[in-house]
């Protein structure tokens, strides 16, 4: 078991994850629904706003009565009432008549347009002169202008933005069906790793990966479950991984860069019933020493111990996986912002693997300049310095100074 070795390409791995199904759904109150992923299409059950509304403060009237009105020859109108906000006007407008109306008010029967108050002049107590013609429906929202009954206004798999909450509110949907948030069990391994509250002795370092990976989970809408540090003992590892898989949808074990632990990780994954190894090594850099296993729709990840490598693997694969589990219709695009920048030096890259280069951005007179950050993937400070990453695909042997690159903000 321990001897087989399957190095996979990124494409292979996406292929073997693409049938993973979204988790279940739950109902949350609209005030808790921001950035959650909608779990059904929203079909409008009514026209909105549902009545003819004014978009201005002014006078509701029949547009054709204003034709010919001008500053030199204003048309007089009798004011027959005032529209009260939130109420159906109890009068109607006939030829030569108008009604005072505020923004949002309901047009009275017989009115089909609103003249802004700026183009009116009171001449007597109940008479106003209008100095500009309006077209039918001018300054009016029609009864189904916002949404039409039967229209699909929001789609299953959409992360909800503030304006989407607005449309839900307008339809009276206070409880929203969303996909359950994925949960990730986070485990750090390694004899050299100590808890952050402990003073490391020479040869030891504090646990970094639990916190970078936890942060990436939160950023991706995933609930992290911090399981702590496990030493290089097979039974301990097996038991903690088992606990992780029972509590979470994904187990993210990092470290185990020493040869012994690598084997333990693989053996511990395989010791769980029904587990299949998807990859033992991936052809991307940094991040090669990654083990991926699957049991049903749950996956187990043996991430590299180097913080940067583990973060890159998260970004490339786990962001996509969590997008699928979250029910996103476009999982790869979630929380993915890229900007175009110009490289300020050449970058070499080995063909046959994908390279991910850390980038520092500078705004030079409105143009973005991208400086590759050199430095080993074992250094977390290089990620702190970075603003984003650039991907160099398998068939490209490098990039040249002056080339335009897409930098994913990180």
């Amino acid at each position: 078991m321990r001897s087989f070795f399957k190095v996979k390409t990124a494409e292979d791995i996406f292929e073997s994850l693409k049938d993973i199904k979204p988790l279940g759904t739950e109902s949350v109150h609209i005030t808790d629904a921001h950035s959650r992923v909608l779990a059904r299409d929203i079909i409008c059950t009514e026209d909105l706003p549902g009545f003819q509304r004014s978009t201005m403060d002014g006078y509701a009237l029949s547009a054709k009565d204003t034709f010919g009105a001008s500053e030199n020859l204003p048309s007089p109108f009798n004011i027959v009432g005032e529209v009260r906000m939130g109420q159906i006007p109890d009068f109607s407008i006939r030829r030569g008549e108008c009604a005072q109306i505020s923004t949002g008010g309901m047009l009275p029967e017989g009115a089909d347009a609103v003249v802004m108050i700026e183009y009116s002049q009171m001449v007597e107590d109940r008479v106003v002169e209008i100095s500009r013609p309006v077209s039918p429906l001018e300054n009016v929202i029609q009864s189904d202008d916002d949404v039409k009954r039967g229209q699909v206004i929001l789609h299953n798999g959409t992360p909800l933005r503030p304006q989407d909450l607005g449309i839900l509110a307008s339809l009276g949907i206070s409880q929203v069906d969303v996909f359950t948030k994925p949960r990730a069990a986070i485990i750090s391994t390694g004899e050299e790793i100590v808890d952050i509250n402990q003073k490391p002795k020479a040869g030891q370092i504090r646990d970094i990966n639990s916190y970078t990976i936890g942060g990436l989970c939160i950023k991706s809408g995933v609930e992290p479950i911090y399981m702590g540090i496990v030493r290089d003992r097979f039974e301990d590892m097996k038991s903690l991984i088992g606990k992780g898989i029972s509590q979470a949808d994904v187990v993210l074990l990092s470290g185990g860069s020493s040869v012994g632990v690598k084997d333990f990780t693989l053996d511990a994954f395989l010791s769980l019933e029904g587990v299949e190894i998807l990859a033992h090594g991936v052809s991307i850099s940094p991040g090669k020493p990654t083990i991926i296993a699957r049991r049903g729709d749950k996956t187990l990840w043996g991430l590299p111990g180097h913080p940067t490598s583990a973060m890159i693997i998260f970004d490339v694969f786990l962001r996509y996986l969590f997008g699928r589990l979250s029910g996103l219709s476009r999982p790869a695009e979630y929380s993915s912002y890229t900007i175009e920048a110009e490289l300020d030096r050449n970058i070499e890259s080995a063909s046959g693997r994908e390279d991910y280069i850390r980038i520092k951005l500078a705004d030079i007179e409105g143009r973005w300049l991208a400086t590759p950050i050199l430095g080993k993937s074992g250094l977390i400070s290089t990620m702190v310095e970075a603003d984003g990453i650039v991907r160099i695909d398998m068939n490209t042997e490098g990039l040249y100074r002056g080339e335009k690159v897409k930098v994913r903000l990180f």
Copy 2:
């Protein structure tokens, strides 16, 4: 009081908000610190990793002993020990000697480089042949390569990213000083507005703004306090605004687009002791009918009733204000992602005001095409359709088809 009218430019308003101070600070656990704003500089109190570490699995040795080694003429080394992870090696390396080492292991005394296991061949039980020379420090992280004692690694005013949490962890900082989250009291006004759980009668609409504004708050790291709907009664409004200002840092009252309510809003703001009106109308579209008042570092906003207009005002001013209150060193940039796109039609714009145009984006063979969304600001559906907004500044009279524009994702 009710008669004065100060329409202000966006620039005026930024000017009158720029002395607002960040709120207080609090200490949170590192697992709760993602996206919070750091409230002090982080100065490294130690070198990291603090010892010489291997970045590879292989053999630790003295680089100069490998000079001349090749595949045809490999150099033999006596293996004098194995570095145990997390421990100080209890042996040292002399000429012609090496030690087995794993990634992350501490280099023994006398070793200054690591040869990857791939370039070695066991020839006897304790003898290995090395087939490639290494330079001093090759495959080694030096004791202060990650951070140097005394270095400022993170700056006050930075929103914490996953990698920043990593560096805090590496330094043993489990409790982090961050700025307190701003709180916003959200109030909807208008006789025509009903609660989302209520069926509106003709002339009424459900409360949209509480939820779009609440969502924008959450997106900006602000805690929303939903205060509900208040009718067009001066005393009720005054009392709810007073309650809002006592509980929150910012009061966001929306609606009141009818003439009567507009006056109530202004009067209610002025009825609170020590309140100064900063603006009564702003020269941006949509969003003109906005009232802004200030009492000390607390501000009161009478936002437009149209959902789109209120969202634009939030995006232009409140995102900046909340950035300042949150202690961000670059408040305008927070959560601000823009992409460059090409306009697919002309847009007109009146000079003398800033225009904000809703944009739908389409990816046409790797280029972004921006289609302006026409439609009244009273329609929330136009914001749902939009992917972002484009700003047209005061001195520009419009934009032409084919022009490159910066679309802020929204």
